[in-house]
Symmetry: C2
Subunit: 205 residues, 2 copies
């Protein structure tokens, strides 16, 4: 059985990468990577489903062993992607999807270079601004800062493998599906296995 | 406007690459590359549509100028893919599809390295044999020879970018469409243009 592939979905915040992932999971057989965190579980959150809840000691030990594909500290809590969980699913032939912010994506590129990275773009800055304003959770000043951060983050696009413009959600999902499908028929070192299959068959003809 | 891409569909004969192309052209806006040939037009064949019909002198001159992406001689007639016609469509932003046999595909890889090459595979040798037998045009000995040639040709798979297994035609077409769609959102040198678009927009916000 051929190994699965790791797809990393990232991009500036507000571009809808989470929604794309949610829709993808409805349509495709993909394993969603579960993060490890030191923060307390919230009501309804299940260990091993929403997060792996661990102590700070466990987290730091895992990190020191190189057991995390990426990690970050947010408001004093640690978050990270356990390499073993991802590897296990890939070995089982499952494609794994990992939705993370851009610093995490950069770390995954280093720690797992075979990962296929997808950058989610807003159709325009104006549209992104509209969407964020629509939420009504940020001041105009915060929005302005966010726009200039987005522009900065856009400079990282050349390090990604693919980009998906999230204008109409359905199209963006279809586009991401095309990437997943195309990657699964890409010629790589595993095709020798495929060739062998035909060679073995010829013996029996 | 961004440049189109050249997709080369090839593979052993009998695998149905022609049928895949025909279906693709119904569903997608793709330009089909038109070959140049020195053979006489058959009834109903239109110059510039089915082939560009040229004299041997014109053909050889074109070849000497490096004006062909690939060429072959079959039963004393020359066939080739005019580079200028393909380039023109690509410049107009159109994706071009080129269905050719494997030696031609190898030449295109040399003459136009940006080409995206797709290898069409039979689901199994047994199935390929069945299909060829079904046509009733070849002797058992010819079929046996063809099987061993197919196996030989399979060794070239690692030089291709993608493979498509033509088991159920509809799936094979969908898979080829995914490749075309994914390639169109691949990050390459043209993304600097895309980044610039957002940068210019920010000036106006």
């Amino acid at each position: 059985m051929s190994k699965g592939r790791l797809f990393v979905i990232s991009g500036p915040s507000g571009t809808g990468k989470g929604t794309i992932c949610k829709e993808l999971l409805k349509k495709r057989s993909l394993a969603l990577s579960v993060s490890m965190t030191t923060r307390q579980p919230r009501t309804g959150e299940i260990d091993g489903v929403h997060y792996y809840f661990v102590s700070k000691e466990e987290f730091l030990e895992k990190l020191a062993q190189g057991g995390l594909l990426e990690h970050a500290e947010v408001y004093g809590n640690y978050y990270g992607t356990p390499r073993a969980m991802v590897e296990e699913k890939l070995q089982q032939g499952q494609n794994v999807i990992l939705e993370i912010e851009m610093k995490g994506a950069a770390q995954v590129r280093e720690s797992y270079p075979e990962a296929i990275t997808i950058f989610v773009l807003p159709p325009s800055l104006e549209e992104l601004r509209k969407r964020i304003r629509g939420r009504g959770t940020e001041t105009e000043e915060a929005i302005r800062l966010r726009m200039s951060k987005t522009l900065e983050e856009l400079q990282e696009l050349p390090h990604y493998d693919y980009y998906v413009i999230n204008d109409i959600l359905e199209d963006a999902v279809r586009c991401t599906e095309a990437i997943i499908d195309a990657e699964s028929v890409k010629v790589d070192s595993t095709v020798t296995e495929l060739i062998r299959k035909y060679e073995e068959e010829e013996q029996t003809l």
